[in-house]
Structure formats: structure tokens, C-alpha cells
Subunit: 403 residues, 2 copies
């Protein structure tokens, strides 16, 4: 169970406590008393992990090998059945003027009709033997996948990052024929998107209502879909993932895990934690050997620098932890994927606390679950990449190396 971005740094306004130290978390503290504690570097000490790279590492995949960019995981997360070798991009629906100036990168924060726009874009046919797969995500967000031979993810972004600038011509980044060819295709797709969307009924209606039209797509964050050994084969388990965001769901999908949707799971501090807890408890009673859980709100509060929301959300998550602790006969690992300190408003490379509860553990003296208390625990300091090995050993599911 990964509480996204929960770990933090001491804050003067909390008497130099971290939010996790200051919050009332009786259940997590009880868990630390019953278990073995330590601190964990999601990737390695000091590395500022993304949620995606941290989760890959924790699941036993080397992010330096597997992670080529955010695109493939976003694409898998919104339901594109990506295949190894596909090149995937994150996209915005944006508003462009006739001369290519991006007047609104978020197309008036469009919420309705993006599925129809995506349908239209899926009709794009290229003279090259390359398939164009387009899928809307939440709001103005979408993903683009190119499928075919001789493609590369070494291409630049089209997104100019600021309103009022012309969208950028995409170019190859490494001088390879593949990258140059991919850039040519991408520039065609962007041009065709404007042609197909500028007079689209959805946009005509938007303009009539005084909204900015979503008349162009701007790809960024190219990544090649990696060849990842299926998680269930790697560890000989049946696994599932309960996560709120497309990014984490996408990682689970590329790893071949079952992805369980929870109604009302928003990925924010307003998420329905009760539904999430119910789903965890229900699925833990099914025939899964392993469930990956990601709860995202603390990270959002951290990015927003909103201490009050972070404290309140941690205290609400504490109740979910209490409910999971009541499930019998399992190893329960509670941790975070990285720190998102209120004072930094972004991820940092600080280690995160970690506790394991379950049968036959070398229970230690730690009595509170937080960044500093955990550091004196029996696990000392481990890495994200150690977790699956430790868990499979405890579950007696790994085999001996040697005699």
C-alpha cells in the first residue's frame, strides 16, 4: 500500500515535525508496533523518483531499463492496449489560430466531447505503414500511440509550454533515420488534427457557446512501450492493482496485473476512501496473491503546498490502514513512493518510511509510523527494488539461489 507522496520534511509551523509526525495516525502507529520498520529509497538515495519510476522499482523492474517516458504508461492507463515497440505520447487538446499560434494550451479546459474528437482523429490514415491510435483522457488530456515498424521515441515535443507561441515543429533527437521518420509522421498527424478538428461539430458548438475550440493536438513525452516480463510470471503470483490515476494503472497494465476500478476514486484529497477500503477488503478475500494499492491525495496536497489538506488526508488514510490491518493471514506493507514536501511542492529524493506487518517477522521496538521513527527499525535502510524479494521470501514463494 503506497500512499503517494506522503513522506515530507520537517516544517517550522509544525514545531519541526513532518506532516506524518504531526498527524494523528493511531492505526499506522499500531502497525509500526506490530511490524518491522525501516526507511526505503524508492530508486536509490537522493534520486527524486517519479511516481511511475518508483512504482516500477518497487514492483521489481529496473526503471533505468524499462522507463522510456511517461507516454506508454499514460496510454495503458487510459485503456489503449499498448504493445512493445509502440511509441506513445501524452497530448493536450489545444486551441490554435489559423497561423499556428497556440492561444490556449488547454482548449478552455474542455470536459465534454473529447471522445468524439478522438473518434475523428482515429480515422487518420498515413501513407507510411503506421497506425494512429488516439484516446481521450480526463479534461483536455489525451494520448497518442503510433504503431508500426522503424519508429523511435527520440523525438522532440510539439507543445510550446506557454500560450501565445506557435506550436513547435517536431524533430528527431538522435540523428537516427527512425527518429527523423517518426518526427515527419508526427508533424503530419499534428497538421491533420487541425484540419480534422477545426470545423468539427463539437468545436462549432463550443465556439457558439464562446468556448475555445479544441482544434489541435500537441504531443509530448514520447516513450517506447517497454518489453516487461509479466509480473505474474516474474513472481509466480496472481496480482491486482487498485490505483486512482491512469499513470499507476498504466504501469499495472503494462506489468500484466488486473486493474480494479473503484467508483469515486478521483486521485485527489476528495477521493472516496471508503469505496477504496471496501474494494481492498473485497479483493483481498478473492484469489489474489498480491495487491498493489496506490492512494494519491497526499501527493496532490504536497504539490499544492497545502499543509492542512495533507494533514487531514493522512488522518483519513489512517482509517483505511486500520481496516486493512484487520484482514488476517497476510503480509501488509505500508509505505510511500517518494516524498512530496510541502516546502518544496514537488518530489524530493528523501527516503520514505516503510513497515511490514505479518507472521513470523523480527518485530522491532519502533512505536510510531513516520520518517524518523522508522529509520531506527529492524529493516534499517532498503531500496524499492528489494521489496518484492523480501515479500516473496516471507511468503515462501521464492526459490533458493545455490545449495
Amino acid at each position: 500500500m503506497i500512499i503517494d507522496g506522503m513522506a515530507d520534511r520537517p516544517l517550522e509551523e509544525l514545531g519541526n515535525k513532518t506532516p506524518l509526525e504531526a498527524a494523528k495516525t493511531p492505526k499506522m502507529d499500531h502497525m509500526s508496533q506490530l511490524g518491522v520498520n525501516g526507511i526505503m529509497d524508492p530508486i536509490k538515495p537522493g534520486i527524486r523518483a517519479g511516481s511511475d519510476t518508483a512504482h516500477l522499482s518497487i514492483l521489481g523492474y529496473d526503471p533505468y531499463t524499462v522507463y522510456t517516458g511517461r507516454g506508454p504508461f499514460e496510454a495503458a492507463g487510459v485503456g489503449v492496449d499498448v504493445m512493445p515497440g509502440d511509441i506513445a505520447f501524452r497530448c493536450n487538446f489545444s486551441t490554435a489560430s489559423a497561423d499556428g499560434i497556440i492561444t490556449d494550451r488547454r482548449a478552455g479546459r474542455i470536459r465534454e466531447g473529447t471522445d468524439e474528437l478522438a473518434d475523428t482523429l482515429n480515422s487518420i490514415e498515413l501513407e507510411e505503414d503506421v497506425e494512429v491510435i488516439f484516446k481521450e483522457s480526463t479534461g483536455h488530456r489525451a494520448v497518442l500511440v503510433l504503431r508500426g515498424k522503424g519508429l523511435s521515441d527520440q523525438v522532440s515535443d510539439a507543445d510550446p509550454k506557454h500560450d501565445g507561441k506557435k506550436f513547435k515543429e517536431v524533430f528527431g533527437l538522435d540523428g537516427s533515420l527512425e527518429a527523423d521518420a517518426t518526427a515527419v509522421i508526427l508533424n503530419k498527424v499534428i497538421k491533420k488534427s487541425y484540419e480534422l478538428l477545426k470545423d468539427h461539430p463539437v468545436n462549432i458548438e463550443r465556439m457558439e457557446n464562446g468556448d475555445n475550440p479544441a482544434n489541435i493536438i500537441l504531443p509530448r513525452g514520447a516513450g517506447a512501450v517497454p518489453e516487461a516480463e509479466p509480473f505474474n510470471d516474474k513472481y509466480d503470483v496472481k496480482s491486482a492493482c487498485i490505483a486512482e490515476t491512469g499513470l499507476i494503472q498504466g504501469i499495472a497494465k503494462i506489468a500484466g496485473m488486473d486493474v480494479i476500478e473503484v467508483e469515486g476514486a478521483t486521485g485527489g484529497v476528495d477521493t472516496n476512501l471508503d469505496n477504496i477500503a471496501n474494494s481492498i477488503i473485497k479483493n483481498a478475500s478473492l484469489n489474489y496473491d498480491f495487491i498493489l494499492i496506490n492512494i494519491d491525495g497526499a501527493d496532490e496536497a504536497g504539490h499544492d503546498g497545502n499543509l492542512k489538506e495533507k494533514l487531514e488526508f493522512i488522518e483519513k488514510v489512517d482509517e483505511v490502514v486500520g481496516r486493512i490491518m484487520e484482514i488476517e493471514d497476510l503480509y501488509f506493507i505500508l509505505t510511500a513512493d517518494h516524498s512530496t514536501p510541502i516546502s518544496v511542492m514537488d518530489h524530493t529524493g528523501d527516503p520514505v518510511p516503510l513497515v511490514i506487518k505479518g507472521p513470523n517477522l523480527r518485530v522491532d521496538h519502533v512505536s510510531q509510523f513516520n520518517e524518523r521513527a522508522a529509520a531506527s527499525g529492524g529493516l534499517c535502510r532498503i531500496r524499492g527494488s528489494d521489496i518484492m524479494n523480501i515479500l516473496m521470501d516471507l511468503m515462501n514463494r521464492s526459490s533458493k539461489f545455490g545449495a
Copy 2:
């Protein structure tokens, strides 16, 4: 000094203490007070190490590179001068019927005459340019080494693992010409072993006495002898090994260490610890810079799930530790190569305690030698592969990396 399999997990019948926590170990505890303590992952966290792979790692060899299987170390351990490229197998002397059914995999647990049988098998000559080297080990155990060009260790086992089954035809595992050729040779050797042994005087006498004849050899556990940099060159030391089992002695031999035999060292809980202690003390006064010690009984008790024997053996080993502590002017490292918990009866991936005693150490506050106390020590959590570097640094025998 590696107490094989000494580390464990908490046991309810010991009030949730581990055997090492429950046993009376005043000498080890005193050593922890005088030294610097920590926990160690023999390979890496959660990996279930064999004794062989753990010892390789502790001696500074990467087991993922060097370890190809148990055969080469067993062969070296029983005194075959193996050479890089040799393919080595563990074998049983077994009893086969005329139609190839294995009626007794252990040939009536034969104890006498295996040297004569081995002599006979060493006369095997093949039309291929491959040398057959055969050597008896303890009881029904033996090793087979094939020496020649174009051989492979990617071959299956002949041992059917259960009595009453026909022995298995060996086949190549990776489709290579070398593996297929090696399988052909191995099948010939097995067939010839039956021809040479079925009417062997040793077996005629056995049958007259109503014992099962040792009339076939069944190879398994193929491994290619690795190219390992001699330990003495790697660390610029003169080194020796005092170990009880052929497996650990074999590792020491392949590493080029002097192997010192101790009379009465059985590798079990009944071993002669007094003789082992005397040998350590004697050899420490000779001109060795480094002595690797392995004492095996705690591992045997762990595999047997025999708590009483494990506790008693740890307490007996404590006295050996006390005697070594009296030797002056040395760095003394006490640890285990893996956990063999009574509750699991096999190796697990739990870290093991480790203490270093000697001059100029940053002595910590730890006052007991066991799994949990060590975790709060000054070494924190290290890996097996760190030990030689730490020791050579303390002994001021390593050189600076950089300026």
C-alpha cells in the same frame, strides 16, 4: 567465522525470541559489546542464498557470474583438481536392475569400497577427446568431472529422484551442439558405469552380504568450473579455510585458498568443536593473513527443524567464539551465511547479524549478538559483498581509489 544457518525468525515457543536471542551466548554478547555490529544480506535483501552462493559473495565473488551449479564446488571439495571449463556433476552410486529401474538411489547407503569403484570408473575411455574423472565422496555420494573441448553444463539430470523409476536419459537443455554432445557423452558414461560395476568384486561381495550393489552412477547438478581470480591475488593475502563440508572446502579450493582438514569435523551437531577451535588457534599463529571458518551444525539443526539441537549447538559454538576472542591482534568477524529458520526448515532471505571486533573500530552501543540487536548497530545494513572490502580497509591492505 561463519556459523552456517545460525540466524532465524522469532518462535512462539521461545516467547517470540529467535534461537540466537534465546540461547545463552555470553561470549558472542561480549564480542558485540567490544565490536561494531550490523545486519548483513549475504547476497541482497530478500534473496534466499545457498551456502555456496553466500560464501562466494562474502569472499568478494559475484555469485551471479561465478556460480553455475553445485557440481564444481563439490568436485573441488572432494579433491578433484578442477580446471576452468571442466563440467562437474554431483553423482549418486545407485542400484539399478538389468532393465534400468533404479531400485535404490543410495545403493544401500554404501560406505565401504566406493574408492575401488571410483578407480574402476576412472578407466573409462571415450572415443571423443574427453577425459572422465571420477571421485568418491562420503557415503553413496561421488563427483564426476568431464574435461575436454566443446562441452556444456546445459544438460539435464540422470537421477530420477525417486526409487522405482528408470534412470533418465540425459538431454541438452539449450539446443546447442555442445549441450547435445555433452548429453551423448554422459549417457555413454552412465551406460558404461553399469557395465563396469555390475560384476565388480565390491558389488559381488555386497550382494553376498545381502546389500544392494552400487552398480550405476547417476549424475545431476551439472556446472561449468568458473574462472575465478585467485583469492590471494585479489586481496594480496595468504589465506586458509577451515570448513567441515566439501561444498565450502570446494569454494575455498576454487578460490585457491589452503584448505585445512580438522579431525572429527563432521558438519553436523555432533562435530568436534574442540578440534576446530584448536585448529583455528593454531593456524591463526601461522603466517596466514585471512582464515575463513565455516561451522555447519546450526544449519543442519535448522533443516531438521530441531530447535533443541539448534539452541544447544549455538551455545557450544559460543565457547569456540570465546576462545578465538582471546587471540590478539586480529580482526574477528562473526556472522552467518543465511538464516535457516526452525519454522521454515530451509534457507530464507532474512538478513543475518554480524559483528566485527578488532583495533580502532567505531564500537557501538549494541550489547547482545543476535538478529534484532545487531540491526541497531553502527554498521547498519551491509551486504556480503561488502565484507572483504571492509576487512581489507581495516587491515590497511587495500589501496586508495583515486587521489
